[in-house]
Symmetry: C2
Subunit: 383 residues, 2 copies
């Protein structure tokens, strides 16, 4: 396979876009990515989306978006719950790397805030096991609360120990004009936030939102002379049991481990080479588990990195959520994986202002679908 | 890209499988495909499905199916309405052809008959344009009825002229043990069937159903010595406007034309080289439009082929629906594209008994999503 690169990125603000349709959001991100790339066409379109069939009564979204942007070529939608964005990205990578096409536009898009919160909670629960988890009445946040409770019990952490994850994400979002919650929070605000499903409170949980993010993938050798091209140097994808109760332990993200090992091998790097890590902090416990599965902390020691100030963009050993993460940029589920890619490109281009990771050359993004059931890891490199 | 081939196929009967789950159906097809291939593993899993999120409350189906069959590697679901099966198949082809993986299991699966018919009608309508078609109250069969009415008006055909499409499909299904409606019908039965949305009656429309079909894709050069391998020699994918009213004419399947031209070019063949054609007869009018877009009949003249007995497996110029088609094998929507592939392999292997197309060497399958909005065409060749 040939090497590939990202030559253009685009996004919308993550927000409550009540006046806009899902195709309109996707179209804006695609148009922005084309403008950014100084190109005006692409060979195929890959969309990542989780919920349009269920809450927008719109399936066949690949055709819908293609139609909206005036494209008649191949256009498919990939769905893997909250990792739909990265799954679509990987499909685009393979299509260009294979030589079948010379450019792939990938867009992740989701529109959630028109629906009633109870409907969204039910819709998000379809990411878990319908027959063996949902049947018991557990919600998606409930599953994550069980994991967090067990983790605290097993390793002796208190709820307050997770505060730095949320505080770092919010502090970084202040510098991201596309973030949904661009304000800083204090430890007191974290501790006093409303409880959702103990021990997960409002400041442990990412907000839903509407948004779209896109990237244009092309062969690397065609853009070596364009200073803004960012190489995609590693891509890994793996799955785990859909039900949390089927795993040997609920406290280790096996699919994160498998996918990151593939990505490290492909990129020929080790964890210490990674300059920043856009991880999937849908809930603060997931930040800890992701850092551990990817080799940045021993099992059970993820919160230590956060408490030691090692996850911030300014001097941290492994900065995470540098544009706000899911917690503060927002989590429009099927779009999130592409926001992570777009934000990683911004870091590698040095466009992140006060949240810039100085001298960043290698960035990693990890997108999780379900309670760790499908996980994709991508490594991007400054040329 | 390297050449690829199908080395194993599997399927379940299309039926009302009330006692079985969607993962169970997918698992049976996958297990059968592995058995058929004399292999016991694969590198990645690609699933095609349209409705599991909407009617089974189960998204993230890639992980669900992977889990069920004990697989931890990459597993994604592709959705493009009724062409989801072929879209997943093409994703599998590209992944193997690229060299990224050495074997791809592709499964199309759908479970529809547990839901109330009105719910299924609403669910299927999500294949059309939610904002600009469904808002007007039209159903999916209603859209096809408008197309058929216009076609009859424009080209002077009577309803009875479409009877041979339905009669051929039913006659062939008698010889397919996996068909949902394995019985022959007479012209009188066709003409007297209950009206659904004029001029489409029950015998013009395909039945929904539950089912799964799978194929294992591997590099061609590894299986040249295995007599049962079937080469995938052409693959094309294209889109058209999602709304029928946005097209210059509703009577020409532009995406079928674009995708079949790609496939013909890749396979280096012409329409006259095709020995049989598994087309997407969701409604009888679609058989006519598909034959015309693919170069087997002039525009407006599709029914002539059927009336002249040119679509039957015994001596017809271009046999279609040789295992029953969507009309009589059944149309478990996201699975249909993979049933077409599996059945094409059976024809090329010479396993179709009384519905065998003698000496068949090149078969074509065409899968349509929405009212012609996304169309994929694949060409298979006996080695």
């Amino acid at each position: 396979m040939r090497e590939v690169a990202i030559i253009g990125i685009g996004q919308t603000k993550v927000d409550e876009h009540w006046q806009r349709s899902i195709r309109d959001l996707a179209g804006e991100a695609i148009a922005n990515a084309l403008l950014d790339s100084s190109r005006n066409s692409f060979d195929a379109l890959f969309s990542g989306n989780m919920l349009s069939g269920l809450i927008d009564q719109q399936n066949n979204l690949g055709s819908v978006i293609a139609d909206w942007v005036g494209f008649k070529g191949e256009s498919i939608k990939v769905e893997s719950a909250c990792s739909s964005g990265a799954s679509a990205f990987r499909a685009g990578i393979i299509a260009v790397a294979s030589g079948e096409i010379d450019s792939a536009m990938v867009v992740g898009v989701e529109k959630m805030t028109d629906s009633a919160p109870a409907d969204i909670t039910s819709a998000l629960a379809t990411a878990a096991d319908s027959d063996w988890e949902l049947e018991q009445g557990v919600s998606f946040v409930g599953l994550n609360a069980l994991i967090m409770r067990r983790y605290m019990h097993e390793y002796g952490w208190k709820h307050a120990d997770f505060a730095p994850f949320s505080m770092n994400a919010h502090a970084n979002a202040v510098h991201n004009p596309n973030a949904r919650l661009p304000f800083a929070i204090t430890q007191k605000q974290y501790l006093n936030a409303s409880m959702i499903a103990a021990p997960i409170n409002l400041m442990d949980a990412s907000p839903v939102g509407d948004g779209a993010a896109a990237a244009l993938i092309v062969p690397l050798d065609r853009v070596l002379n364009e200073g803004r091209a960012i190489q995609i140097s590693g891509s890994g994808s793996a799955t785990d049991t859909i039900s949390v109760h089927s795993r040997k332990t609920p406290l280790f993200l096996q699919a994160a481990y498998l996918s990151v090992q593939q990505a490290y091998k492909q990129a020929r790097i080790k964890p210490e080479d990674v300059d920043f890590f856009e991880l999937h902090d849908a809930f603060s416990i997931m930040s800890a588990l992701s850092l551990e599965a990817c080799g940045f902390a021993e099992q059970g020691q993820g919160p230590r990195l956060a408490l030691d100030n090692e996850i911030t963009p300014k001097g941290g050993r492994i900065p995470i959520c540098t544009r706000g993460g899911l917690k503060a940029r927002g989590h429009p589920v099927g779009a999130t994986g592409m926001y992570q890619i777009v934000e990683s490109v911004q870091q590698l281009r040095g466009e992140c202002g006060e949240a810039q990771v100085e001298g960043a050359k290698i960035g990693m993004a990890q997108n999780i679908g379900g309670s760790g059931a499908s996980i994709l890891t991508h490594i991007l490199r400054k040329i």
